[in-house]
Structures are given as C-alpha cells and as structure tokens.
C-alpha cells in the first residue's frame, strides 16, 4: 500500500521536504498543557451542566503536571535548547518564567474554584480559556522571533478578553471585556505595524538577527525609531504602563475577581517577558532609542499609578492602580538596558526577581479579598472594617501581603525593590539615579494607601458588623498558604529567589 503511494507523493513534493528537528523533552510542558486542554474540553462535553467539579480538579492537575515537566526539562539537562533556527529557545530564563506562569495559573484555578462554581457562570469553558491563556504564556517565554511573539501574545490575550466579560448579565463585566478588547486590539495593530517595519528594515524576524542589523550606525534612521516605539507601545499596553493604562481600572473592577488576579499577575508578567526579550535581545544595540522611551514610561507609570491609587475607595480599583505603579517599578531596569560597560543580565535578573515576588504577594492579596468578599459581598475598602475581629487569620494574611507590596521588610517585597535598586545603581547613569529617587518617593506614597487598608481592618469601628467568622473554602486556603509561604520566605531568605534569578540570563545566549 505504502509502496504504491510513495511515487505519487514524490511527484507532489519533489523537494523531499524534511521536517525540522524537534526536542520533545524541551517541549514537554507545552505538550502536557495542550493535552490537558483537550482532555478538559472532552470531559466538559460529556458531563452535565450542574456537575463540573471534576473539570476544575483536572485543570489543576494538568497545570501541576506541566510544572513537573518543567522540572524534568531541567533535570534531563535540556535547558539550553535552541530550536527552529533560534526562534524557540528553552533556556533557564524561559523555564523560570514558565514555572512562574504555571504556578500563578494554578493559584488562579484555586481561587476560581468556589467563585466560579457558586456563581452562575459557564464553568467548564472558564477553565479551558484559562488553560489556553497559560499555554500562550509558556510559548511567550520561549519565543525569540517576531511571529512567535505575536502569536503567543494573541493566544494569551484573546481568552483573557473573553474571561473579563464572563459575568455576562452584569453590565460592568461587559464593559470590562469590551474596553479591554477594543484597547487591546488597537495596541496590537500598532505593534504589528511596528513589527512589519522592523521586518522591512532588517529582512528577518529573529530577534538576534534584528539586533545585529539595527545596531550599526551611530544615528538611527527615523523609521527605526518609529518601529521600535510602535512595538514597545504594544507591550506597554499589556503591562498597563501609563499612558496606555486607561483600560486597567475598569477592566479590573468589572471582571470576575479571579480573572482580575490573573490579568494583574500572569498576563502582566507575560507582557514583561516579551518586553525583556525585545529589549535585551532585539534592541540591545539601540539603547539610544530604548532608554529614553523606557525612562519616560517608567517614571510616568509609577508616579501616575500611585497618585491615582491614593484616591480609590474600591479595593480592586486600588489594586489596579497599585498594579500600574508596580509595573512602573519593573520598567525601571529597562531604562538602563544596554548601558555600555554593565552586564545587562543584572537588569534581567532584577525584573525576574520582582516578577516572582510580585506574583506571590499580589495573587495572595486577591485571594484574601475574594475570601472576605464571600461574607461582605462588596469590594469597598470601608466594608472591610472590623475584619481583624471576625476574621483575624485573613486580616493578618492581607496585612502581610500589603506590607510586602509596600516594600517593608521582612516580607518579600523589600528584596524585590532592593534588586531593582541594585540594577539601577550598577548602571550608574543619570537616568538610573533619577529613577531610583523617583522609586523611593513613590514607595512612600504607596505605603500610605496600602497601610490605610490595614488601618480600616484594625481600627475602624465595626459597630453593626456581623461578627460571625468567615468560612474559607479549602482551595482558597491552599492558595493563600502557597502565597504567604512564598512571600515570607523570599523576604527572610532572599537567597532562594536570587538563586533562581541568577541562572536567568538573556544576553549572550541563543546565538
């Protein structure tokens, strides 16, 4: 049979097409997650609508299994793979970010369990979209050419647009999804135009080759400046950098709270991974374009985010603006990227460190807010008064996360900020020093509104507050347990996270 077909096949494809070599071990986390997605879709089809409990568990197990395979990749020493001519790279940086995405994906699934199960939502599809989005993030961590980066961005964003509108009967949720979608599509269009200009200028989609092509010459042509700005602006939207942040507060407030946590942590981290790939691999030779742009973005983002956060009365909106400000801190090391005479990997490591700690403390804060809202049914800051009396455990947890977010030792946040300072001072440029000063000023402002929440929980009179304790479901407890442990450990023993981060290097690898 086959012998008869062979000559016909040879006629159709005279070139004798050879498939590319693929290292399947290095690919295993993505493969496992895709398989999980397919299994979840099938299970969803064959279960009744009121009986979707298994799907949540399956999705969680799949994500953990994928995380296990990230470990397998490291153990089997497949952690320096460069496939498809350098378009898809599995190195320590990519693996650390994959672990971060999978772990935050798992925590999001945990905090979604009761929220989605008890509300009137489409449950099976919810987890399918979360899994698809996390898969996009895994691809993003390894993508080293423009087309892979673009496709990964689409795969992680499109499910997120739809998840933001998941509370279908609520106008606010519809508004959240609509705003996120329209602004996102616009940013993507601008970014794609920049990518096409880059391709036109360099004739290649590989970031390393783009860097080689644009690094020549003392003065960049005007069109290159435009192309770089357009591409970076597209990701500025994704990480909600000012002035591209306008979608964030409304989307965060309107979306289901677990989705908000997902957007604020995982989606933002994915945007930063793409920014780091672009800045440290693609545009490293053009610090004269990237540095001023990133300086302005970072300074604006942290200042505007913090100033508006001061005036918020809704805790989710407050976290939205605080997330904007935190993105500003993380953009700061990009403003010193490519300074001559410094190791760019210091900046890479500082951002990776910040992302790891930020993920833990922010997800934890959202988990507590969701747990408290199960009783109060509100996200107003005033509704939290007296929390220390009726739910001391939750209130203490939230205090830990907020202290950490403010950067006060001994919790993780201080080390995250410290590593950013380290990167800024190592560069020893005026841009670095000014951003460091701005960062200190902003940390003080931020501490004020973080601590205000603690004050409301501890000292506001809780006269007519119902004193029955809050029942916290076990999945939320596990989520809070993971995040509290990470937040405290990274603060007390920062060597853990710096050990991880120090193996992350983007520059000088991937050829």
């Amino acid at each position: 049979m086959l012998a008869a077909v062979a000559p016909i096949l040879a006629q159709i494809a005279p070139g004798g097409f050879q498939g590319p070599p693929v290292n399947w071990v290095a690919f295993s986390p993505e493969v496992v997650l895709t398989a999980t997605l397919v299994v979840v879709v099938l299970v969803d089809v064959f279960t009744e609508r009121y009986d979707k409990g298994a799907i949540n568990t399956l999705a969680g197990i799949g994500v953990l299994l994928s995380l296990l395979f990230v470990g397998v990749v490291v153990v089997t020493a497949n952690n320096s793979e460069s496939m498809f001519g350098g378009a898809y790279v599995v190195d320590n940086f990519a693996l650390i970010m994959k672990a971060l995405f999978l772990l935050s994906g798992y925590v999001v699934i945990l905090i979604s369990t009761n929220y989605i199960g008890e509300g009137d939502y489409w449950e099976g599809e919810y987890y399918q979209l979360i899994l698809a989005s996390v898969l996009g993030m895994l691809v993003m961590a390894s993508a080293r050419d423009l087309i892979s980066i673009f496709i990964a961005l689409e795969l992680l964003s499109i499910p997120a647009y739809m998840l933001a509108a998941w509370r279908k009967r609520d106008l606010k949720s519809d508004e959240a999804g609509m705003k996120y979608y329209l602004m996102g599509v616009f940013a993507t269009a601008v970014m794609l135009y920049g990518m096409s200009l880059l391709y036109g200028l360099t004739g290649d989609t590989l970031l390393t080759k783009i860097n080689a092509a644009i690094s020549t010459g003392t003065k960049p042509p005007a069109i290159l400046i435009l192309a770089v700005i357009f591409v970076l602006v597209g990701f500025g939207f994704k990480v909600s950098a000012v002035p591209f942040h306008t979608w964030a507060p409304d989307t965060y407030e309107g979306a289901p709270t677990p989705v908000t946590a997902f957007l604020a942590v995982a989606s933002k981290a994915a945007g930063f991974v793409a920014l780091m790939n672009l800045v440290f691999i693609g545009f490293l030779g053009r610090a004269d374009i990237v540095q001023p742009l990133m300086w302005a973005l970072s300074a604006l983002t942290m200042t505007v985010g913090n100033l508006i956060a001061l005036r918020q009365t809704n805790v989710v909106r407050m976290f939205a603006y605080s997330g904007v400000a935190q993105a500003g801190y993380m953009l700061a090391p990009l403003a010193v990227a490519g300074s001559s005479g410094t190791d760019p990997n210091v900046a890479v490591r500082s951002i990776v460190t910040y992302l790891l700690i930020y993920a833990a403390m922010n997800l934890g804060a959202f988990a507590v807010v969701i747990a408290l809202a199960r009783k109060t049914r509100s996200a107003e800051i005033t509704s939290m008064s007296g929390a220390f009396h009726y739910a001391p455990g939750l209130a203490w947890c939230l205090t830990i996360f907020l202290t950490s977010l403010a950067g006060i030792p001994p919790f993780g946040g201080w080390f995250a900020k410290f590593s950013i300072f380290q990167a800024l001072f190592t560069a020893a440029t005026p841009a670095g020093y000014t951003l460091a000063v701005l960062l200190v000023v902003n940390s003080v402002i931020a501490a004020f509104y973080y601590m205000r929440v603690v004050r409301v929980m501890a000292f506001e009179p809780a006269d007519d507050v119902d004193m029955t304790p809050v029942k916290v479901p076990s999945s939320l407890l596990v989520a809070m347990g993971i995040t509290v442990v990470v937040t405290v450990l990274t603060g007390v023993v920062p060597a853990i996270v710096s050990q991880f981060a120090s193996s992350a290097s983007l520059v000088g690898f991937g050829g």
Partner: protein, 177 residues
C-alpha cells in the same frame, strides 16, 4: 542597485490600484451608510490583494481575498443584518465636528510622521524583488508552505489552539442562557 530593471507596467498598475485604494479608504470613513462602508472596504482590501500580485506573491494575495473579503467583510455584513442595525443612511454614524477635527489632525500628523520616516530611509533606493524576474508561478507558495512546517511550526500549531479557545469563548459569550 543601479542595475535593477525598471518595471513600467508595474508602476502604472501600482498607481492605479493605490489611488483607487485611497479613494475607497476615504469613502469608508465618510459614507453615512454602514453597508456602503463595508462594501468600500472590499475595494480597499481587494486593492491590497492586487498589490501582492504585483509583488509576485500569489499565495498572500489569495489569502487576502479569502480571509479579508471572503470572511471578515461578509461577517461585517451579516453582523449588520442580524443585529437589526439601520440599513439606510444614519445620521449618528458621524462624530461631532470637534471630534472630527481632532481625528483628522491625529490622522494627518501620523501620516506626516510615517511619510517622513519612509522617505527618509528608502527614497534613494531602488529595491529589487528577490529573483522576481526569474520566479515561476507557485514558487512562493512552495516556500511559504515549507517555512510554515519548518521555521514557523510552533506559531502554526499554536494558532490552532488559539482558534479552539476563540471558538469556545465566542460561543459562551454569544449564546443565550
């Protein structure tokens, strides 16, 4: 690239297609009828396909026709008809004068910046298409198919997951419950 041949017929066709595209694109935003706007858009997108044919990349041209005209504009028209939107002229399709002026200013300044950038970089260069004089019909299609299944295998596979996710999400959001 002084030896690059002059493609006179191509230049003439380019001028014709490009100018009709500009006219059609202006009509897309100025017409007061949504259906007409969608049909003008067909002309713009068809022009893009024509430009791709001039560049001897027939696969991209056919994809352009299939995807943009065949799927997206048809989806627009179905969307307009199924949502009971007014089919004739509608006055509220336009923004007020102040918004129109701001929009025009932004558009024109962007045009100025882009034109400056492009002219500044490429005005003194003659770009010869790689092997365009010797290329045979179907050759670019073969190259594209080869690179999809070798260099760009990951994006190609990832797109299928993306389509699955988009399908699932769209059904959930659109269905009545």
């Amino acid at each position: 690239m002084t030896n690059a041949p002059t493609y006179l017929p191509e230049y003439i066709m380019f001028g014709l297609i490009a100018s009709s595209m500009v006219v059609a694109a202006v009509r897309v935003v100025t017409t007061k009828n949504v259906v007409h706007a969608a049909l003008w858009l067909v002309l713009v997108l068809g022009g893009v396909a024509g430009l791709f044919i001039l560049l001897a990349s027939e696969f991209t041209a056919i994809t352009q026709v299939l995807v943009y005209i065949g799927a997206i504009v048809v989806l627009f028209l179905f969307g307009i008809m199924l949502t009971r939107a007014p089919l004739g002229k509608s006055a509220d399709l336009d923004n007020n004068v102040a918004q129109r002026i701001v929009g025009a200013l932004v558009g024109l300044s962007l045009l100025g910046v882009m034109v400056y950038g492009l002219v500044n970089r490429w005005s003194d260069q003659k770009i010869e298409l790689v092997g365009s004089s010797t290329r045979q019909l179907g050759q670019t299609t073969e190259q594209i198919s080869d690179s999809i299944f070798s260099t760009y295998l990951v994006p190609f596979e990832v797109v299928s997951v993306l389509l699955l996710a988009a399908l699932i999400g769209a059904i959930v959001l659109a269905r009545r419950d």
